[in-house]
Structure formats: structure tokens, C-alpha cells
Amino acid sequence: MTTMPAVDTFWLSCLGYFEKELSAQQFNTWIKPLRLDSSNDASEPILVAPNRFVMQWVKDNFLSRIELMAEKYFAQSIRFQLMLAEHVSAKTPLSPSNSAVTAAFQPPADVDTPAVSLRKVPGDPKEKNPSRLNSSFTFNNFVTGKANQLARAGAIQVAERPGVAYNPFFIYGGVGLGKTHLIQAIGNFVLEHNSAAKVRYIHSEQYVSDVVKAYQHKAFDDFKRYYHSLDLLLIDDIQFFGGKNRTQEEFFYAFNALIEAHKQVIITCDSYPKEISGMEERLISRFGWGLTVAVEPPELEMRVAILLKKALLENIVLDENVAFFIAKHIRSNVRELEGALKRVVAYSRFTGHSLSLDLAREALKDLLAVQNRQISIENIQKTVADYYKIKVAEMYSKKRSRIVARPRQMAMAISKELTPLSLPDIGEAFGGRDHTTVLHGYRKIAELRASDPAINRDFNTLLHILRG
């Protein structure tokens, strides 16, 4: 005898079926607002409708189909009850699993509720970690290179002399470059040397949400008292304040109060202060009072160092060659770099083979294939023109002498190989040429590669350069 699958699982597949079967509007109006409550008795599950109108419509139009599906699914007849939300909540409390699952299918009751309403009130004395710092972010495990050495030096000075050295300390740079790590390292350092210090790390989005909550609960006094009483305020991704005037006003007062009291303010942002859109001028000018430093994307050596450090922390034996291979191909940011390392390690565990260059290449092949597809046609034209020492403009010119036509054909063939563009699009990028010209170029190069080793070598070298 087989056990009966959970009604929850059936309902998931049922939702999937209706989503495919009905128009989006129909699905969103009638099916999506339904909530399954199977907590009382699995043989008579309850579908909870938000109002009478939906309930009646579902009863008339969908209930028999749901029951028919259930009959096939469970190989026995199942009846569903339809009920109004208010009746159910009075009757049976929802089990935690059901309520969470259905959260996805229900419009939120209160649109102003913060997205994850699980956080505690700021300054709540019962909080286990009032600073909200992640203790794993320290200066010791922060890898330094040309890209961030100035930011790190500034951060250490601020950590050693908070409120004195540079106030505010403003760090800006692209995503995934270690800004959060650096400022949390300051917070952890300060707490380590003065456990009584009142430190608070907050993401700007959460600050915005706290302002909204304080406004709704008329609790601005508490809000102000808390933020103005801090010794160190670390505020992450301040670009989220853009266009939010009420938040900026509150922050302005908090900022002034802290700076006047020689308490340290540390800010991160994705751009230089003057370039933050929707930010008040008076705040922008204040951001420049202390020290403003940039973090740049890490250079190759630093990327290798980051990987080796990460491996060391995780007790992974990582050969430098493998680290170099990953670092060479993953160039944009530290998060992606760490993600790639995880992938290689997972693959090594899966295959039971040690971390080698070949294994890394195999593990990252999907990711690298995606990168190859991202190579632009302009990049190909420039690389090929440089390689053959001709001007990039010759790629679009009408000249047909072999000295420019051959490199142009080479660039066309490589464009076909490395980009997903159609032949007419490639032709267009080469001075508005016809797609048959592209095809001819591609065939010509294929033919030459087969007969002339030098051309074949050129082709492979160019592919290698372009793929990084």
C-alpha cells in the first residue's frame, strides 16, 4: 500500500496547472488568492477564499475540476470545502508551514509592512546582537590589494580613533567589492577594544523602513533617542536614500547630532557622493567633510589572493594554478569569485577528484560559456584590428585589399563563433554588409584554417585572447 502524498504537494501542482492553463489575469483573480488549509483533516481539505465573490466563482467554475484532479492524483475521491477567510481564522489556526507557503500566493494585508517583518525594534534591550555586526568580517580576513589599500588604511585609522580621525568616513565603489566587509571590520574592531561602545550597523533600506515604522507608530522620539545615542553608526548602501525626503531629513538630524558629539559615522555607497541621485545637497556636502575613498574591482593578483584566503578559511587545499585559473576568468567582483570557488569545490566533492586545473575548467564550463557569449562585436573588431595592426575603422570600410579584407573576414568568423548575433546583425556591424558576405567570410576562414596552419594559429590565438 502506498502512503497518500501530502495535500500541500497536490495543491502546488494544482496551482502550477492552473497557472499554465488560465490567463494570468484569471489565475491572479481566482486561483492565486486561494489558500489551502489542510491542517484539520487531510481527507477534507479546506480552500480559503478571501471574499464571498471569489468563493462563489471558484465553486461554480473550478471546484469540480480541482476535485477531479485530486481524485486522479490520490486515486480516491477527495472533497474540498470552500470557506471564507474570516471563518477559518476563527475556527482553525493555520499551521506555520501552511501560512508561510500561502504567503506567496496572497496579496499582503498591509502594503506598508516592511518586506521581512521579522526584525526587532532598534534598540530593543532584549536583542542578542544589538550591533547587528557579523563577527566574521574582520581586518584579518580582508584581502588587500591596489584596489582597496587606501580604503583599508583609512578604515584602520578610523577603527583605532573613532570620531577623531575621519568623520564621516565614506567608502564608495561597485557591488561585491568588499565595502560591507570593511565597515563591519571597523565595527568589530571598535567593539573588541571597547565592549561598552554602542555600535550599530544598518542597511539603508532597513533605516528607511525604520523611519516609516516610527512615523506610523508615532515613535519618532524613541527613534531619534536611539540613533542620536550611538557611538558608531555604520550605514550601508546609502544610495537607497535617493528620493526619500523624510528619511533624508531624519538622517540629517542624526548625522549632525553624532558628528557634533564626535561620534563616528561610516557610510558606504555605490557611487561618489556628488553622483547619488535624489540626495539633498546639504547631505552630499556633509558626506565630504571627512574622508571619501573608493574601492575598485580587484586586480588579478588580488583575486588570486582572495581565493587562496577563502580556501584557507574553509580548510580547502587550493593549488595556486587553480586559483589563478578561476581569478583569470572571473573578473567582475568578489562575490562572483567566491561563488565560482564554491562551484569548483562542489564539483570536486561530487566527482571525488582533487581540485585540479582540469576539474576547475570542467566545473566552470557553463559559467565560462556564458561569459564567452557576452563578448561584444566591438571588442572582437578592436582585438582583431590590433592583432593585425590595422585601424579599427577598416572593419567597416569599403576597402577590399587583402591586407584589410582578411582581418575583417577573421573578425566576422570570430563574431559568428563567439556571439549569438544573427548573420545580418554581424553584417550590419561591419559597415552594413550583407549576411551573405558574413557567410562567405566565415567559410573562407574555415577553408584557410584547414589549409594554412598560420591562419589556424591566428584564429585560435584570437579566440584565446577574447575569451580571456
Binding site: 500566493f105 532597513q206 567582475s332 562575490r335 559559467l367 561569459q371
Partner: protein, 225 residues
Amino acid sequence: MKQLLLDIAPSPPPTLANFVPGRNIELLQTLSNVVAGLERERFIYLWGGAGCGRTHLLQAIAGICMRRKMNVAYFSCAPETEFIASSEPHCVTVDDVDRLNAKAQISLFNLYNHIRDEGHALLLVSGPAAPAQLRLRDDLITRLGWGLVYQVHELSDEEKIKAMKCHALGRGLDLPQEVCDYLLRHGRRDLPSLMATLDALDSFSLANQRKVTIPLVRELFQAVS
């Protein structure tokens, strides 16, 4: 005219066991490890084209967690989806992340940060492309790429044929090679559609008491169109 059950038969519940792995064996192993508590990584992003099986895998994981009475939040993304959990979740699955509008992306960004900093949940997200190719906020994209990222490879035609034959065998259906080829040439080629067609073909062949042949498939297609 005979009524066809094709329209209303739901697919069997998605599980890891009934996912045809093809080139996704490593991914399947990783997901099995995740639910068995053998994988430390809590953030997983799956990507692949339509019909590759992303939703199947997300629902399979959500289903396993639900059967264990865990607190599960399953989000099938719409532009306005808000990531609200009524209590601390154990497992959050987010399907089709690319559909989120600007506000919803911030909502997911917050949820991610919350889970990373304070929660212990598994966060399983899916999208149609690798993180770097998604048209979403950079700070969200880099977070999706921070965990384990897997491409869900669609099955090749040969693998689809193998899966169809295996499915047919389970139903006691004799499925000739030429019918497989025909279905792949003339019908929808994603696996769920192929399986649904096979189920319909099985019922149709029983109802008409005829063997499964290309003419029978043609009649079925005509009957349902």
C-alpha cells in the same frame, strides 16, 4: 465524441526522484545533499531556458521541506511580488526571479540579506539566465552569484526519447521509435508536454483499442486541436 482526459490530468507531483537528470546529475546530487543536510551552502541559484525543469526542482525541494513540516515559503514571481514571511522560514524558493519589478527586487534583496545575516533558511532561486545576464539590480545579481550556481541543462533529443520510453514502459505502453521521433518533430518539445502527450496517447489508445502508431498520434492531435 469521446471526452479526453488530457485537459485535466495534473502532472504527477514534482519530486527529485521523478526528475529525469540528463546532464544534471551533479545538480541533482547537490539538491539531495541539501535536503539531507549534507551541503553547507544555503544559497542556490538555478538557471536555464523554458521547460528545462527549474520549477520542477524548486517545487520538489519545497515539497520535501513541507512534508517534513518545515516552514516553507514558495514564491512564483510576478512583477509586484513582496517577500513577506509570516514567521522565520526554513526554506524559501523563488521561481522566475527575472519577473520582479524594481520594488520587488529590493524586497528580495532585503530577504536575502536577512537570511544571510540573521536567518538559517535555504534560499533557492531560479531564473532564465546566469546571474550576470539577468536584468536586475547589480546588488541582487551579485548576491545570486555568491552561492552555488547551476545551469539546468535541457535534455537532448536522445535523452528525451529515453525518458519517454521509460515513462511509457511504466504505463505498460509499447512506444515505437518512430512515434518518439514524430512527437519530437511535431509536438511541443519540452519534457512536461511530451509526458502529458504520452499520457493522453495512452488513454486514447486504450479508448480506441488501437496500438500506438503515427496515424493514431495524428488523430489525437486533431482531436485535441
